[in-house]
Amino acid sequence: MLQILADGLIIGSVVALGAIGLSMTLSIVRFSNFSHGELLGWGAYLALVASTALNTTSGAWATPIGPFSFGWGLLVALVLACGLTALLALGLDAVLFKRLRKQGSITLVIASFGAALALRNLLLFWQGGIPRYYSENLQIAIAFLPRSTWGGLRATPDQLFVLVLALVTVTGLHLFLQRSTLGRAMRATALNPGLARVTGIDPERVLRATWLMGGVLAAIAGVFAGLTVQMRPTMGVDLLLPLFAAVILGGIGSIWGAVLGGFVVGMAESISITWVGAEYRSAAAFVVLIAILMVRPRGLFGEKY
């Protein structure tokens, strides 16, 4: 029982980080970005390419840090991947979404659909279809509770790393949105774009910041997914439904809502793996989604930060 909760938290932290970026796009750029999942996929693979490159320059990069399966190389690669994915998101906006913004949100959704398709298959073309891992090192799960206590609790150091770094990232983001000028401008734009413009907030600057942060969060989530599960070129589209379910569950535009939504979706997936079987895992997110839409279509926390 405890193990299901713990696994749900790990899956949930990946979903939550991705969902925050998606939620920000939804509330600030104002459309359902179907290509957001692909940013996770690209982030994961960019980090893979960067860390492989680092590891070939010196073995020191690949030497595992403490109990973890990865070395400093992956952490540096993570930072690089965040930057590159943010640029990818910005580039996509400049090439595509910016030109369509006047045509309304559904045109943007269709465009994001085309973009998702192109991005995913470019990744497949570049990296091939075989699942990949950051490290071949196998990790032994640490037993935190023996099997006799509620079924026991085990987790690998990597999983704990993911969980802690996810919480740190979200807290940092929360502080940024609450305290910084740009963060306040973003919240204002999400709440009322017209009023925000009148008060002298540059909407283009806010949009750029949104894409940058969405890209960074997506890259972190992608690397975490690669670290705890595996990387496949289709990981973006596989994660899309959980991301949307988390966003809608939490309420569009709510950071902590997205986090909570992510954990609920993670839990649902974890439970479904145990009770229904792993093959129907992706349907769990969909069931959650339908349930929210029926009971509380505006999500747990309404349209506010």
């Binding site: 559904i106 959704v109 192109a118 298959n121 439904l241 809608i248």
Partner: protein, 316 residues
């Protein structure tokens, strides 16, 4: 010397597929082009149609739940009814909400159908799919060109029927209400039109055409598997509608043939010029092309080749 029979056979194969897609695109056009309902799970609805008809018409097999041996016509009719029913359920759930929620819900439906098709082995055959789907009149016409041509005639006949039915629907007062809802839902509501009912009707009828298209596909190929209904199919159909021109039934049909020609030509070129070992990667590039085609069309020519005619003149 050109192999005339071979060429004719190739062209008629191409045309049967394009015609099945044209029927589906007509359904999508009713939903999106005329009513503004954004369905991103088209492949799921097509799969329901294909599997329904296939499972009802195939001869009984050991270890399978279905296999009732119905006539093909009954299978196709059932495909439309079942897909319409699923459309109704999805519509009731999602059509009341914000526009993009429908997109997310239909996307989820398609994913779920894919999972069921892949895993409910006793019903759907799992990854191996359904085989021995009857091809109508094959006992009489054999497997060669005459049968292909006859099936093409059947498919085109169904397309013409669907076209005429949809045209008369959208030209009727009902169709005018749909467009009114698409343009300004509040105004339509203010005029006493219950927009939810109209949207639901449009969504269900569109879904039925998708189911029919799936059945036409299944009975031509004689074999279906979950991988025939991947999200890529949805994208192809969207590309057809966008390229042809949403809001115009002739545009939707034209788009189906143009995009399918573009797709097959791109595939053929890749097969000819890319070495065998790299074929899987080249197939990915082919999909990138479709993605870029959708995006470029939206940016450069949002109304498509043959877009909707403006009803009110003097305005743009």
């Amino acid at each position: 010397m050109i192999d005339f029979n071979g060429l004719l056979s190739y062209v008629s194969f191409f045309l049967v597929f394009a015609t099945a897609y044209a029927i589906i695109t007509l359904g999508l056009n009713l939903q999106w082009g005329f009513t503004g309902l954004f369905n991103v799970g088209v492949a799921g609805f097509v799969a329901i149609g294909a599997y329904t008809s296939a499972l009802l018409t195939t001869p009984h097999q050991e270890g399978h739940l279905a296999g009732l041996g119905w006539p093909v016509a009954a299978g196709m009719l059932a495909a439309m009814l079942v897909t319409g029913l699923v459309g109704a359920i999805v519509g009731v759930l999602a059509l009341r909400l914000r526009q993009d929620y429908l997109a997310i819900t239909t996307f989820g439906i398609a994913v779920t159908i894919q999972l069921v098709a892949n895993n409910a082995t006793s019903l759907t055959g799992g990854p191996f799919g359904v085989q021995f789907i009857p091809r109508p009149l094959q006992a009489w016409l054999g497997t060669g060109l005459p049968w292909t041509l006859a099936y093409l005639a059947l498919a085109v006949g169904l397309l013409v029927l669907a076209y005429l039915a949809i045209e008369s629907l959208v030209k009727s007062p009902w169709g005018r209400v749909l467009r009114a809802i698409r343009e300004d839902e509040d105004a339509a509501n203010a005029l006493g039109k219950k927009s939810f009912n109209y949207r639901l009707q449009s969504f269900v009828i569109g879904s039925m055409l998708m189911g029919l298209g799936g059945a036409v596909y299944a009975h031509f190929v004689g074999f279906i598997a979950p991988e025939d209904f991947l999200p890529i199919l949805t994208f192809q159909l969207w590309a057809m509608l966008i390229v042809g021109g949403a809001g115009n039934n002739r545009g939707a049909i034209l788009g189906a043939y143009v995009v399918w020609a573009f797709w097959t030509a791109a595939g053929g070129l890749m097969r000819d010029f890319v070495p065998q070992a790299e074929q899987a990667r080249a197939a990915a590039l082919q999909v990138v092309l479709i993605g870029c085609l959708i995006a470029m069309m939206l940016v450069l020519r949002p109304r498509g080749i043959y877009g909707e005619k403006l009803v009110v003149h003097g305005q743009s």
